[in-house]
Each structure stands twice: as C-alpha cells, then as structure tokens.
C-alpha cells in the first residue's frame, strides 16, 4: 500500500484543541510543511503567543517558547540575537499582534529583525469568547460590540500588512487567506518564502492569514468561509504589500 497523504514531520501527532472548522489547523499544517520543505526543524524555535494558538507549543515538533501576550516578537528577538543560526518564528493572533503587541510588532519589523511572523487575522478575540479585536470589521457584532462596531466610538480596524509595508526593515508583508484551495496554495508559497527569507538573512517577514472563527462568529464552518470571502477580503485585500525579492 502506498502512502498518498501524511502529516508533515514538523507537526506533532496529537489531537488539537481547536474548534471544528477553525482554520488554525490548516495554517499549522502549512507552517509545518514549510519547516519540512526547508529541512530546518532541528534548528527552529517557535514562539507561541497568547490566544487560541497558545497551545501551539504542543503541536509543533520544533523547540517552542510560550510568550506573554503580545510579546512574541520580543521573545523571538531574544532567541534570534542569542542564536543567529536558529530559524525563529512567531505564531500570533490579531489581538496579540495588533493590539497589546503593536509596539513589539512595529519595532521588530522596523529593526529588520530576521524572524518570521505568522499572523492569524480572524477579526475577533477567540480564546476569551469573541470580543472586539483591533481587526474587527466596522459594523461587526461581537461580545463587546453588541450593537456592531461603531468606528466613531470604538475606532477603526488596523490593516497590519499595509502599515508594516512602510517600514524599511520589512522583507515581506503578504496577506493570504485559507478559504479555498487556490488561496491555500498561495498561502503555502507565502509561508515558505517567509521562512526562506529568514534563512537568506533578508529581514522581517510577515504573512497575514485571513482565518475563520465559526464558534465566535456564530456560523457554520462553511458559512464562515463565505463570510470571510464576503466581508474580510474586501476590507483586507489579499496580496503582496512588500517583497524586497532578491534585494537586501
């Protein structure tokens, strides 16, 4: 019998705690595939952030460190500066990266810290039960915007890739989605590039992945994918916001 499908080696053979239909599973797989493809598991250190993905330290086979809320890029900086030959990545949600950790995100990016950031944007705080995130869309109903996000009151969402693309230290800022097979293929390529950039010492690479949270959106997994397409992609257009390519 031939094996036609298997788990990436960099992914632990364990059950995850993620909800049915959550796209963390897809993104975990893409990260693990990138680590396998580049053959760097032995020298990779992953930084888990606070939020639904906190327990990703149990899901990746590489060494893992759990960072305080928002501080993953600072923790990653510490590891990378101590061990420049390590491949260091953070895996962060939108509350972590774009609210409490904004300073760490912006400054690690502008320093050109040679790390890889995987940014899960699902427009909500998932772990705590669905409150407004910095990325929550205008009008979106959450536990803490029960009448819909009123931007004149709660402020506007942050477009992270657009913001970071203005910074000199950024090698790659790309937004992808995992709602369809073509998009997943695109996401896979972006994540591999974000790791490859680090190996090639190009600087800070971030891949923003538009993701679903069926549980807290109150939708079925299929409806959630459609909601992402109808609402998130128009506000957060997919694409490459910065890519220095072969340039240093």
């Amino acid at each position: 019998m031939s094996v036609v499908f298997e788990k990436p080696k960099a992914l632990c053979d364990v059950d995850t705690h993620y909800c049915p239909g959550c796209t963390h599973g897809i993104v975990h797989r893409l990260v693990a595939e990138a680590i396998d493809e580049l053959g760097v598991e032995g020298r990779t250190v992953g930084i888990a952030s606070v939020g639904c993905s906190v327990m990703s330290y149990n899901y990746f086979e590489c060494d893992m460190i759990q960072a305080p809320h928002g501080r993953a890029p600072a923790v990653a900086t510490g590891v990378k500066r101590a061990h420049p030959d390590n491949v260091v990545f953070t895996y962060q949600g939108d509350g972590d990266l774009a609210a409490i950790g904004t300073a760490e995100t912006v400054h690690s990016a502008t320093r050109g810290e040679n790390i890889t950031v995987i940014f899960i944007n699902n427009a909500i705080y998932g772990m705590t039960g669905g409150q407004m995130a910095p990325t929550t869309l205008p009008g979106q109903v959450t536990q803490t915007t029960p009448y819909g996000r009123d931007v004149s009151y709660s402020g506007n969402p942050i477009r992270v890739c657009e913001m970071l693309s203005t910074l000199d230290g950024v090698a790659l800022a790309q937004r992808v989605a995992v709602d369809s097979v073509p998009h997943i293929k695109e996401a896979r390529k972006a994540i591999v590039k974000a790791f490859k950039n680090q190996i090639d010492k190009k600087g800070f690479s971030i891949v923003e992945v538009l993701s679903t949270c069926p549980t807290n959106w109150g939708l079925s997994p299929v409806e959630a994918m459609q909601w992402l397409r109808d609402n998130m992609i128009p506000y957060y257009p997919l694409g490459v916001y910065k890519d220095i390519g072969g340039k240093q």
């Binding site: 598991e41 032995g42 906190v54 460190i65 923790v75 900086t77 510490g78 590891v79 101590a82 760490e104």
Partner: protein
C-alpha cells in the same frame, strides 16, 4: 590576573556581567542606571555580544526571556518605574523556570517619583516581582566591589536553581565610584539541557511554558518550585555582622544605607551605646537565621532604610515578637545622614 580599577557602580555591574559570560544585554534608558546600558553598548559589539536597545522595558524583559529561554546568560537592567514594566516577563520566567539576571538601581517612587537613591522597591523585589506565587533571588550589594561579586553569584545561583535573580541596588551605589579588583568568576555557566535553542534532531522538543490549565497540574508545578525555594532558604541566606559580638542594639540595614549605619554605629559606641549592624546581603532569601541568633542578646532591633519601612517587616518576622523592632527611614530620594541614625540609636540606647 586580577587588576584594580576605579569604576562607577553601574559600570561595575556591566563589567561583572561580561566577566561572568553574559554578552547579551537588552536595555532601555532610565536614570540612574543608564551607565549600565552605555557601558554594554560600547563593550559588547567588540566581543561578539549583543547590546540591543528595546522599544520599551516590556520588550527588553521579553527579549531577555527569549534569550535566557534559549539557554544563554543574559540580563537587563532598569530603575524603579522600568522594573514595574519588567515584572510581566519576570513572572513568566519564574513560571517557566528560566534563569536570568535583572538589575534594579532604585530611585524614589511611587509613579515617576524622582531620580535620587531609594530603597522603596523592597516589597516589590521580595514579595511580588510580578503576579502569581513565586520568588526571585535578591542580592543587595553595599560596595562597588560587592556589586561585582554578587553579579557572579547571582548568575550562578539563578542557573543552579532555575530561578530569576535580581541585583537590588540604588542610585547612590550605581553612581558612586570606588576601586574594584576585577577577578574572573570561580564558576562557569551551568549546562542547560532544558533550553529551547533547536533540538538539532537529537532529542524531542523542549517547551518553555508557564501555562497549565488543569488546576492540580499548576498547583503541582508551583509546589515543586516552592520545594526549591525551601532549599534556597536553607542554603543561600547571606548577611554581614558588624560589631555584633556584644551589641545591645542591632541596627539592620542593607545596600548603601548600611554604610551610613556603620558610621552611626561606630559613633554610638564612642558615646557609650553598644550598637552593632546586621547587613542582609540576600534580601530573598532573607537572613532570618542571622537575625534570630541575636534575639536573646540585644534589647531591640532598629531597621534603617531609604523607604517608609519595608524590610522592617522581615526583621519583625524573624524576631517574632521576642524584642521590640524599631524603624527609622527617609524616603523620596533623601539619603539619611549618619547623625540622624545616631540620634535614633542614642534614643533607643537610653
């Protein structure tokens, strides 16, 4: 070969760390500790190390968390308001058994406070350097030479017990210049098989983590750590005793304040009052045994601090009601004069 040089306390802190093999420093400017960062920024790039100026104290301490979790000797330093921000990462380091060195060159508080010397962060250092059940080793040098010695000891003991360590100095000590003899440390960095620096395909992954969602599991982790703390309390208490052999009044003071106290104690003896000084060198573990040794000899204890009275609580705990425990302090950056302390000793000696 050892050499004798004139150094500022803050520079000695930095040089000692380098001598101890710490060549990664994550900092942020704040008076009165900035010379530590300045010294590191000058030296470290020349010796293959990293001086990195962070965007905040939060980031600096989390960079320290990352570097230390990856198994190297690393440190950060700050002064009182900055330490409040660093407590986040310190709690995480304690909760994930990561050894690292944090320096607090104390200034007056609360809030932005002032920039003059203070010892008002004693409670913070010894009771709650962050949220949760934990302790850190706290060393309190009193001379520039002792700064060097205690930096060596702090790194070594932090690694031995897998706990964060703090050097609790103050603005006076940080800014003063004294001759120091620079000697190589006697110990080398410990092996760190737990570190997260890549498994090199030779072992299963290491996980540095402080999250335990099952209450009993978290309780067990904390209990295991407290067993280590008991060993630390038994083996690591340190104090200096000065003119205590026949003392009737024991003046307890640490850090720069102890130098003022020693002058007052000497003067008191010349005026006929048998005073002595107990100088805690470790503030956690507190040298309870040294204090307790004298409860049947002295008629009272006097804690002298640059605060409104914080360490005095540890003196009271050690004395346990056996004799009175008095307090004298100045705060807000005011340094007590030997004469003020002498007057208090003479008042108690009457």
């Amino acid at each position: 070969m050892s050499k004798r040089v004139l150094m500022k306390g803050n520079e000695a802190l930095a040089e000692a760390a380098i001598q101890a093999g710490c060549i990664h420093f994550f900092g942020y400017p704040i008076t009165p500790q900035t010379e530590v960062a300045a010294y590191m920024s000058k030296r470290l790039p020349k010796i293959g190390g990293v001086y990195l100026q962070a965007e905040s104290e939060l980031a600096a301490s989390n960079m320290l968390l990352g570097a230390a979790a990856s198994g190297i000797r690393a440190m950060t330093s700050s002064s009182s308001p900055g330490i409040s921000l660093k407590t986040e990462a310190i709690s995480y380091m304690a909760g994930s058994d990561v050894p690292a060195l944090i320096v607090n060159v104390q200034r007056g508080g609360p809030g932005l406070g002032g920039i003059q010397p203070s010892q008002a962060d004693y409670f913070q250092a010894t009771r709650a350097l962050g949220h949760g059940d934990f302790q850190v080793l706290v060393f309190a040098p009193a001379t520039v030479q002792e700064i060097m010695d205690l930096v060596y000891l702090a790194f070594d003991r932090a690694e031995e017990y897998r706990v964060p360590a703090m050097i609790l100095a103050d603005g006076m000590l940080g800014q003063m210049m004294e001759p120091v003899v620079i000697e190589k440390p006697q110990t080398s960095p410990h092996e760190k098989p737990w570190a997260a620096s890549g498994h090199q395909n030779k072992r299963r992954h290491n996980i540095i983590n402080s999250l335990y969602l099952q209450a009993e599991e978290l309780e067990n982790r904390v209990i295991e750590r407290y067993k280590r703390y008991e060993i630390i309390k038994e083996k690591e208490q340190r104090a200096e005793e000065y003119l205590m052999e026949d003392a009737e009044i024991a003046v307890v003071a640490y850090g720069a304040t102890s130098r003022i106290v020693k002058a007052a104690v000497k003067e008191a003896r010349e005026q006929g009052v048998k005073a002595g000084c107990i100088r805690p060198i470790t503030l956690w573990p507190y040298p309870t045994d040294t204090i307790a040794k004298y409860v049947n000899q002295v008629k009272c204890f006097l804690s002298v601090e640059m605060s409104m009275g914080q360490m005095v609580e540890d003196v009271r705990l050690a004395v346990n009601g056996a004799v009175p425990v008095e307090f004298y302090g100045r705060t807000g950056g005011v340094i007590p004069e030997p004469g003020e302390v002498l007057a208090k000793i003479m008042e108690l000696g009457r």
